[in-house]
């Protein structure tokens, strides 16, 4: 039975904090690591021990497997949690950790490798009977075969030039009547564009959503699912807002998808927390995309609806504990939404906005959770992912959750850097989002256009604030007197009350 008492957390930011919290709740000691850019970051200040591991670029610190193992040895850590990103899906690091006699908190290097290759995992999944987006990879020449294949996979289908790219030589075909003419046109276009008329066929997934299933597996062959997350709201193919349950997933599909996810995990003897991602078509079909062999950024929404602490679960599974609940013990309770708060400027096409946070106040109150990796005074470094925090809310219903999420976003205060907080309020207000019927194409150029046109009233208030701020600078009597107004209230108050008593 693997035992450990002191966990090295090989990460930074909110996920390092998340893992530290899980360790502390289980009474484990922790070792934080930090680059020169992160000395004052919360994860350093919360851990039992903290060690500097190098220069700010990740390649010189957070990605230095050798340094991490050396620190583990020097600090007496007996387990390593990789978080997500960085070395979390690096099978070589996992192996090195185990070779050093430490407990690796994650799946086996074998599972990481098997799921790490796009083509390898597709083959493995096909063998395991997991549905993949249907298609041929070889060129089709026989029209009769084409018709048969299209019938088999169902319309609409996509004809793609094997040598293609940039949309050239691609034809969407919606019904059988157009198949052959489309095929001929695609071949001819392909020949003209690329000098190669090889064309293959793939199922066209209409109005796709990104839906994923959380799984947990112990060392003894028990693999459970913790339902789905909908991650279709994306910018630049990166998730920005996730929710669970998926507002349009029929129960029968949820069950089927969950079973497939368990199948996928079992196919690689998966142990720990993992996520199986699917493309979910508007027609109800779903197809395996990939499996992430680590804790997912958006895991908190699953925690909110199931009550299971996934980071603690990772640790307990790694300790050799058999799963302490059965599939039937798990239910989805209410609705949860996560907003990834980035240090970036949504109005400038989400360009990064690192810098020093000069004022910071997180929202609180009922069913609001913030997982963050920053504090006031912290300088968001230029070297890493711009995500500074995740706002997670829960509600009994989806509408409750949306209303509460908007309330929490209103409350969230960050000064000194730009963030995506305001952007999320626009997402939540969007009728398509409200309806629950949206796709991965939700964030359109038009949506972004709307963002850059600030609200008239809000701009007017900003102008007033700027003018007053400037006025105060222009009329500053002396430095350091910025709190004078507040103190004046209190001074006046004290004076009044003591005066009154005397009189």
């Amino acid at each position: 039975m693997p035992e450990f008492k002191r966990v090295l957390v090989a990460n930074r930011g909110e996920i390092a904090v998340r893992v530290l919290r899980a360790c502390q709740s289980l009474g484990l000691e922790t070792v934080a690591v930090f680059s020169d850019a992160d000395r004052d970051a919360p994860h350093v200040r919360m851990a039992t021990f903290a060690r500097n591991i190098g220069a700010p670029p990740a390649s010189e610190s957070y990605l230095r497997a050798d340094v991490l193992l050396q620190v583990a040895r020097e600090t007496g850590a007996d387990a390593v949690h990789p978080g997500y990103g960085f070395l979390s899906e690096n099978a070589g690091f996992a192996q090195a950790v185990m070779d050093a006699g430490l407990v690796w908190i994650g799946p086996s290097p074998h599972a990481i490798v098997a799921m790490g290759s796009k083509t390898g995992s597709r083959k493995l999944m096909q063998a395991a009977g997991v549905p993949l987006v249907p298609g041929t990879v070889e060129a089709i020449t026989d029209e009769a075969e084409l018709i048969r294949l299209a019938e088999e996979m169902g319309y609409p289908v996509m004809l793609k030039a094997a040598a293609g790219g940039g949309g050239k030589g691609m034809r969407r075909v919606d019904d059988p009547d157009q198949l052959l003419s489309g095929f001929r046109a695609a071949r001819s276009e392909a020949r003209n564009s690329f000098g190669d008329d090889a064309v293959y066929i793939e199922k066209f997934v209409v109005n796709p959503r990104h839906v994923e299933i959380q799984v947990l597996a112990d060392m003894y062959g028990t693999t459970l699912h913790l339902f789905e997350r909908d991650c279709s709201i994306q910018r630049r193919n990166q998730k920005v807002l996730e929710e669970t349950p998926c507002p349009v997933l029929p129960e029968v599909t949820r069950q089927a998808m969950a079973q497939v996810a368990i199948q996928a995990a079992r196919a690689v003897d998966y142990v720990g927390a993992g996520t199986v991602e699917f493309l979910f078509g508007g027609d109800g079909s779903f197809y395996f995309l990939e499996m992430n062999t680590r804790l997912q950024v958006e895991h908190p929404i699953t925690e909110m609806v199931t009550g299971i602490d996934l980071a603690q679960a990772q640790l307990r599974i790694a300790m050799g504990e058999p799963l302490w609940f059965a599939q039937d013990d798990l239910t989805m309770h209410g609705h949860a939404i996560e907003c990834r708060v980035y240090a970036e400027d949504p109005a400038q096409n989400f360009s990064p906005a690192p810098g020093r946070i000069t004022a910071y106040r997180e929202p609180g109150g009922p069913f609001v959770r913030v997982d963050s990796g920053v504090t006031v005074g912290f300088e968001v470094p230029i070297y890493y992912d711009p995500m500074i925090a995740k706002l997670v809310v829960w509600g009994r219903t989806r509408d409750d959750a949306i209303a509460r999420c908007d309330r929490a976003l209103r409350e969230y205060r960050v000064s000194g850097i730009r963030t995506s907080i305001g952007f999320f309020r626009q997402v939540l207000a969007d009728p398509a989002f409200r309806s629950g019927v949206y796709t991965t194409g939700f964030i359109t150029p038009e949506f972004l256009e709307g963002l850059s046109h600030g609200e008239e009233r809000s701009e007017e208030l900003a102008s007033i604030a700027a003018a007053i701020a400037q006025f105060e600078v222009d009329h500053a009597p002396r430095p350091g007197a910025t709190r004078s107004e507040g103190s004046a209230w209190k001074r006046a108050a004290r004076w009044k009350s003591s005066h009154r008593v005397k009189g």
Partner: protein, 165 residues
């Protein structure tokens, strides 16, 4: 005191008076509003005719970044009297400055080369994202102050461009 505040395309003339610790503000000669304003660190807590508005402040070149309810508005603030002075001074020299802290990963022009306003001249990387920096004016590159790979602070001068004589 009157300030010209530019947010996006909109320019507003904001008149500000302070009496007995209270501000009296009018925008574009509209009604005068009473503002009780309290500076708390980098945050301005305003009661605008009793409406509570919290504005995060960050100094920016030529004004303030003002955050209200999670959205940041870049506000250029000009005192019209000083503006007049400034315009009277020399014009046409273009210093390209870093719009964010980051690392220079590409210099797209050479010294002596002619550039036109808006032309990408440098690429800066921050947080795994590449961002093009554009020439602020038409002109000729006079000096390049940084090298590829170099880390720079926000506002650092990167390149000097001389306007055509």
């Amino acid at each position: 005191m009157i300030y010209e505040v530019t947010v996006g395309e909109a320019v507003r003339r904001v008149s500000v008076d302070k009496r007995d610790g209270l501000y009296f503000v009018s925008v574009d000669e509209g009604p005068v509003r009473r503002v009780e304003s309290l500076k708390l660190g980098q945050v301005l807590s305003m009661l605008v005719e009793h409406r509570s508005v919290e504005a995060g402040l960050a100094r920016r070149e030529g004004g303030w970044d003002v955050s209200i309810l999670g959205s940041t508005h870049a506000c250029d603030v000009v005192d019209p009297q000083r503006k007049a002075l400034r315009l009277a001074g020399g014009a046409g020299s273009g210093a390209l400055k870093a719009s964010m802290p980051g690392r220079i990963i590409g210099v797209l022009v050479e010294v002596g080369q002619a550039v036109s306003k808006g032309q990408p001249v440098m690429v800066i990387e921050a947080m795994k994202m590449e961002n093009e920096l554009k020439a602020p004016i038409d002109g000729q590159v006079v000096e390049i102050l940084v090298e590829g790979g170099q880390a720079v602070e926000s506002g650092a001068a990167l390149m000097l461009i001389a306007a055509p004589a």
